[in-house]
């Protein structure tokens, strides 16, 4: 056991902190889930990229700085503590990139990753369809081989595509052997999908923005009508899309998408809010204060659980079904943190103008956590079956 960061890690932390202190936009940017807000966030992404902070853990020739996992964690802690903008590029850099590193050819990596790092390409995730949410293997959007053109033709519809209305590219699963799927057998359903990378600005693609709970156009429906995708935009093998996609869902649930730094920072801000409310004449509410303490403890627990996971990953282990527990934990912690802020605000909680508006917005976003990245009901099934070894139904 050694519970200290090395000198060079501490050095990295202070560099990051200094840079963020100078550069984080103030006042905070408008929501990145609106067209004008998205554009401003891209400017910020560009600034991060120019300072080589957009993808610290990537190799330097692809736009990163070869940071270790530990340094990446430190970066995240500092990023959220500095109240820096949400990452509108996150679905690319946190969800797609790990898959490209694992399954992409060297050529694909060189062609796709630097543009992702700079924000020139922005990626959205095309998994869900109207009839395939939790049951992702139930997708029906399909791709038909066009051998003479050297590629595939896509047809169908994706939905709930986060920031699909603003992104340049989509990664998603499409059915490449509809007959196998129709047989209904499990292997049939799972071995007939392929992972495609699709440019959205082309004939046959129609994107309709859909308002999320907070009124932003953060969702999209994406329709495909005879959309051409060249062979070099297939990720992994044809008909192997399911295993390619599943290999990295751990990233979404576990470490990368929602690192502990976020929740540590929110817990800190919640404590500040509580102190401010008392200082400005609010009643001291021991019951709420106790729950804030518990939420802060939980954020620390997530941090230390992560330190264990990172140690094992650095030692060469693979992440497994434990990531489902991580997803359950952070998503429910986030709801509690934001709910506590609303409790502190009392009748001011409903305001969406003025100084406290961001808390209601953050509460609304936290409520989505138990739904996206695999619902918490599904995660509980995974924990029961794959961590505890309980029999499947």
């Amino acid at each position: 056991m050694d519970l200290t960061f090395s000198e060079s890690e501490e050095q990295f932390r202070s560099e990051v902190r200094e840079w963020l202190t100078v550069n984080v936009p103030k006042p905070a940017l408008p929501s990145g889930d609106t067209a004008p807000g998205f554009a401003l966030h891209l400017e910020w992404e560009r600034k991060l990229f120019d300072a080589r902070y957009s993808v610290v853990s990537w190799p330097s020739d692809l736009g990163g700085r070869d940071a270790t996992l530990w340094e990446w964690l430190i970066f995240e802690e500092e990023y959220w503590l500095a109240n820096a903008p949400q990452r509108v590029t996150q679905n690319g850099i946190f969800l797609l990139a790990p898959t490209i590193f694992e399954f992409g050819t060297a050529e694909q990596q060189r062609r796709l990753l630097p543009k992702m790092a700079s924000g020139e390409h922005t990626w959205c995730q095309g998994w869900s369809e109207p009839n395939a949410g939790s049951d992702l293997a139930g997708i029906s959007s399909r791709a038909v081989r066009d051998a003479s053109a050297g590629g595939w033709r896509l047809a169908g519809q994706k939905t709930w595509t986060t920031r699909g209305a603003f992104c340049t590219h989509l990664f998603g699963l499409f059915r490449t052997e509809p007959e196998a799927a129709a047989s209904g057998s499990r292997p049939g359903r799972h071995h007939s999908m392929t992972y495609f990378l699709v440019e959205l600005d082309q004939p046959g693609v129609t994107v309709r923005g859909v308002e999320r709970l907070d009124g932003d156009l953060g969702f999209a429906e994406v329709f495909f009508d005879d959309v051409f995708v060249p062979d070099d935009m297939v990720l992994g093998g044809v008909n192997e899309g399911w295993s390619v996609a599943m290999a990295t869902t751990g990233s979404e649930r576990g470490l990368t998408l929602r690192s502990p730094g976020r929740f540590l920072a929110t817990a800190q801000r919640l404590i500040e809010l509580c102190k401010e409310r008392i200082a400005s004449g609010g009643a001291r509410d021991q019951a709420v204060q106790d729950r804030i303490v518990q939420a802060w403890i939980d954020a620390e627990a997530y941090r230390w659980q992560t330190f264990g996971t990172v140690t094992r990953l650095v030692d060469g282990a693979k992440s497994g079904a434990e990531s489902s527990m991580v997803k359950l934990f952070w998503s429910e912690l986030d709801v509690r943190l934001q709910e506590l802020a609303l409790e502190l605000l009392g009748p001011h909680a409903e305001l969406i103008d003025g100084d406290f508006a961001h808390w209601m917005k953050a509460y609304e976003f936290a409520l989505a956590g138990p739904i996206y990245a695999g619902t918490n009901e599904i995660q509980r099934n995974v924990v029961a079956e794959r961590v505890l070894g309980l029999p499947r139904k």
């Binding site: 709970l213 019951a287 909680a349 409903e350 209601m360 409520l367």
Partner: protein
């Protein structure tokens, strides 16, 4: 002991439910989000025509001379349809005191609920403070508009200027208790509606080749929400009876009602959203109209924690 409403009370509730089912549909609530006033005028007119607005007004003043116990089920219905109207402020607080009559409406603010709702289109503005009740015509007060997460709720910070208190502190207390009771009743209706919508949805939506309502996880969520509601309703009904009979502990009883109904609505909203999945996370789905009203009302007229502290004071004082 007989803890049940009368046949007449149920019948009137059903009649109001029928009328609101026609005049305050989700489309009408959406309309209120987008219109000038945030209100649903045809529902308001219908409630006036049925005598609801004047239920508690004395008969001498042309009212029905009824009590909180007679109106509590009606208020629950106004929650069930997320009625965007100041029904609690008007029918339960202002009309019984003669501060408004006819189709006129009232807006009320107080330290625990510092914003009036729909104030700019109300005839009378009422504030409740420790030194008494102030009532003024809308034209004589200064309003500053604020924005609520519930787009139908038009919020205003109210400046009463030099208006002097007209009523003694005892009527402040009564007005406050009535407001808390009415809000609790609306929260029950909201919770019930969100559970009902979700039950309907999970019987339709299929994943993995079956209705999602067949999954035990989904069933348990909904059963928990329904159970919470089951143990919120009786306390609101009991508080209504306590107010009607001017029970000495009425203050504690309305606080208990508000705690329980706020928590029941909060859980119902959470469960409803979770069982809907992403579709519930859009403004295209009606659920958000009910969820956002719940979030606002849970914390209006004293949030659950505030009322727990009030109850704690009285409980531990008497030890």
């Amino acid at each position: 002991m007989r803890f049940e409403f009368s046949q007449e009370q149920f019948q009137f509730r059903d009649a109001v439910r029928d009328v609101l089912a026609k005049t305050c549909q989700p489309g009408d609530v959406r309309e209120a989000w987008n219109n000038q006033t945030g209100r649903a005028p045809s529902a308001w007119a219908a409630l006036h025509d049925m005598g609801v607005l004047a239920m508690l007004a004395p008969t001498e003043a042309g009212g029905l001379g009824l009590t909180e116990l007679d109106i509590v089920l009606i208020l629950e219905e106004t929650g069930r349809c997320a009625l965007p109207e100041p029904i609690v402020e008007t029918a339960l607080i202002a009309a019984p005191e003669g501060w408004v009559n006819g189709t006129d409406s009232a807006s009320v603010s107080l330290p625990e609920s510092p914003f009036g709702v729909w104030t700019d289109t109300c005839a009378s503005v009422v504030t409740l403070t420790a030194d008494g009740v102030r009532v003024a015509p809308r034209e004589s007060v200064r309003l500053t508009q604020r924005e609520s997460v519930d787009g139908a709720r038009r919020l205003f910070a109210i400046d009463m200027g030099s208006t002097a208190p007209i009523a003694p502190v005892t009527s402040t207390a009564l007005a406050f208790r009535r407001g808390v009771l009415g809000t609790s009743a609306q929260l029950l209706g909201l919770a019930d509606r969100m559970i009902e919508m979700t039950v309907d949805y999970v019987k339709e939506r299929e994943q993995f080749g079956v209705k999602i309502g067949t999954f035990q996880a989904v069933k348990h969520h909904l059963a928990n929400a329904r159970t919470k509601l089951e143990f919120a309703r009786p306390l609101t009904y009991r508080a209504a009876a306590s107010l009607a009979s001017r029970d000495a502990l009425a203050s504690q009883h309305v606080s208990m009602a508000k705690v329980q109904s706020s928590d029941a609505a909060s859980l119902a909203a959470r469960v409803a959203l979770q069982c809907h999945g992403a579709i519930g996370y859009t403004t295209e789905c009606d659920l958000h109209l009910f969820m956002k009203r719940s979030w606002a009302l849970e914390r209006a007229w004293g949030a659950a924690n505030w009322h727990r502290r009030m109850i704690a004071q009285s409980l531990f004082e008497r030890l």
